[in-house]
């Protein structure tokens, strides 16, 4: 079992209950999409798996390792993250950003001088060609378009040689064309490299198209867990509290062309 989430709760300091009584198991190599409206807890869940958020109670295991302060380096090394805002280091080059994916495997003192062994450069090159960014490894990260930056973010995740990739709304800041590119990329990575991909998405259509399994969240709890084909109107209503389709007003409007 790649990811095992056992009855977790996450309550913030101000009392807000982000995750309540959540249990989940995800198999290796599958592409799972998490749907839910803003505030449903999708980000919190993904970040908790990587250890960026600490859960209030319960346990999470990643490839058999419990997520706790002691194991953060191991867990994070194995479960790479891709972020909505790419979270690259803007002033560094594309290559430098991808190389940071190797930090968890490297001696901290050597990396003090930004030194990486040759194999790391080879791994970075491989990651960059996988995402199609091998032609401009020395450009500054912030000079790229959104879609390109996200691909660099994915390359960084790949460089970690992870067994899991957690993508927190990876296409929320991208246009439709770049979004399809990025999601196809993630899907291919999942299939070709047997990496478990868990991604949160806003767009229901994308989820239906790319995911093997869809998990719907609402107010910190899982309200749906099944195949894309099982995603009916009722289910969507449960997830979003209002069905997205019904949001389009079905009203006869009086329009006057004055």
């Amino acid at each position: 079992m790649a990811i095992k989430i056992n009855n977790i709760h996450k309550v913030y300091n101000n009392g807000f209950k982000a995750l309540t009584n959540l249990s989940l198991e995800i198999e290796r190599g599958k592409f799972t999409a998490i749907l839910g409206s803003s505030g449903a807890g999708k980000s919190t869940l993904l970040r908790a798996i990587n250890g960026l958020e600490t859960i209030t109670s319960g346990s999470i295991t990643v490839s058999g390792v419990t997520v706790c302060k002691k194991n953060l380096r191991t867990v994070r090394s194995d479960a790479a993250m891709v972020f909505q805002n790419y979270n690259l280091v803007n002033r560094l080059s594309v290559m430098a950003n991808v190389l940071t994916g190797r930090l968890s495997k490297r001696n901290p003192l050597l990396s003090l001088l930004h030194l990486f062994p040759k194999e790391d450069y080879a791994i970075a090159d491989d990651a960059l060609s996988c995402v199609g960014m091998e032609t401009s490894p020395w450009s500054r990260a912030d000079k790229l378009s959104g879609g390109q930056q996200q691909r660099v973010g994915i390359a960084r995740a790949l460089a970690q040689n992870p067994s899991i990739i957690l993508a927190d709304e990876p296409v929320a800041s991208l246009d439709p064309v770049s979004s399809t590119e990025v999601l196809t990329l993630l899907k291919n990575i999942a299939r070709d490299r047997n990496i478990t991909v868990v991604t949160s998405l806003h767009q229901v259509d994308f989820a239906k198209e790319y995911a093997d399994r869809i998990i719907g969240m609402n107010a910190g709890q899982i309200v749906f867990d099944g195949a894309p084909t099982e995603l009916t109107e009722n289910v969507l209503e449960r997830i979003y509290q209002k069905s997205p389709v019904k949001e389009i007003p079905d009203v006869q409007m009086e329009v006057s062309y004055a």
Partner: protein, 272 residues
């Protein structure tokens, strides 16, 4: 009717702001006598000033030129060395003094207090302290300069670190990097370019500070400068004054060029 541009609900100028500015000005003028501001004295100062300038227009003491050069070199060397040493020390200390990078809140507060203390007294006062400790010469001068510079530089570095974007930090942390790696890869690349400009400003300031440290025997041109003034040795005063001006201007221009190079450089894509 003249309308202010700041948007207030009724279109009239912001009364609290006006009141604040007015009362500040009144307070300033009322307290002027404390520093004995007297327009009278200022207006009548032309005479003595022109007299003094007249005394300066004497032929320079040319034989003194060699010693002048040596002392100036010593001053520049003190500045560069002190600033370099201070930079090396300030980088890790700045990390400790940055709220988002410090290992523990107690370390953060202690470091901030220590830096504040180091900045509290001018270089000249610290130079006096170090002269008592290690004796006369440029060494206490370098120590004093470095000491105070760390106080300022570490603070500036810490402030640059504190405004670094959270997102890049999280991005690096999510790969499993440890504290040092996060600092080197997420924090420093963002903080250092901001800091480069401050470095030159500090270098500039330190040169001026170094020129007077000789007052307490801590090396540099300061001793000669003060002695010539006390002995009314105008032949030397004029040389020293012009030399210092030229030196400071030169370093100023060089710093400007270097700083612009760095800013331009960091804007372009790096080519391998």
């Amino acid at each position: 009717m003249f309308k202010w541009k700041c948007p207030t609900p009724n279109g009239l100028p912001s009364l609290p702001l006006l009141a604040l500015v007015a009362s500040s000005l009144i307070l300033l003028f009322a307290s002027a006598p404390i520093v004995e501001i007297s327009l009278d004295r200022i207006f009548n100062s032309w005479g003595p000033l022109l007299d003094f300038l007249g005394y300066l227009l004497v032929s320079p003491d040319w034989p003194y030129l060699q010693q002048l050069g040596a002392k100036l070199l010593e001053t520049v060397e003190m500045t560069l060395l002190a600033t370099a040493i201070a930079t090396v020390i300030s980088l890790p200390v700045g990390v400790l003094a940055a709220k988002n990078a410090s290992p523990h809140p107690m370390v953060y507060h202690f470091t901030r207090e220590a830096l504040s203390f180091m900045r509290a007294l001018p270089e000249l006062v610290w130079a006096l302290v170090f002269v008592s400790a290690v004796g006369l010469g440029p060494l206490p001068g370098v120590m004093a300069l470095a000491f105070v510079t760390v106080g300022f530089m570490a603070k500036f570095i810490a402030e640059s670190i504190e405004v670094v974007g959270e997102q890049a930090i999280e991005g690096i942390q999510s790969t499993g990097s440890n504290r040092i790696q996060t600092i080197m890869f997420a924090i420093m690349p963002q903080a250092l370019p901001d800091f480069a400009g401050t470095l030159f400003y500090i270098l500039d300031h330190n040169l001026r500070a170094a020129t007077i440290l000789g007052l307490v025997g801590a090396g540099g041109i300061g001793y000669d400068m003060v002695m010539s003034m006390r002995l009314f040795n105008y032949n030397r005063i004029i040389m020293i004054a012009i030399a210092i001006y030229l030196l400071v201007t030169l370093i100023d221009r060089l710093s400007d060029i270097l700083r612009h190079r760095i800013i331009e450089g960091s804007k372009h894509a790096r080519t391998r």
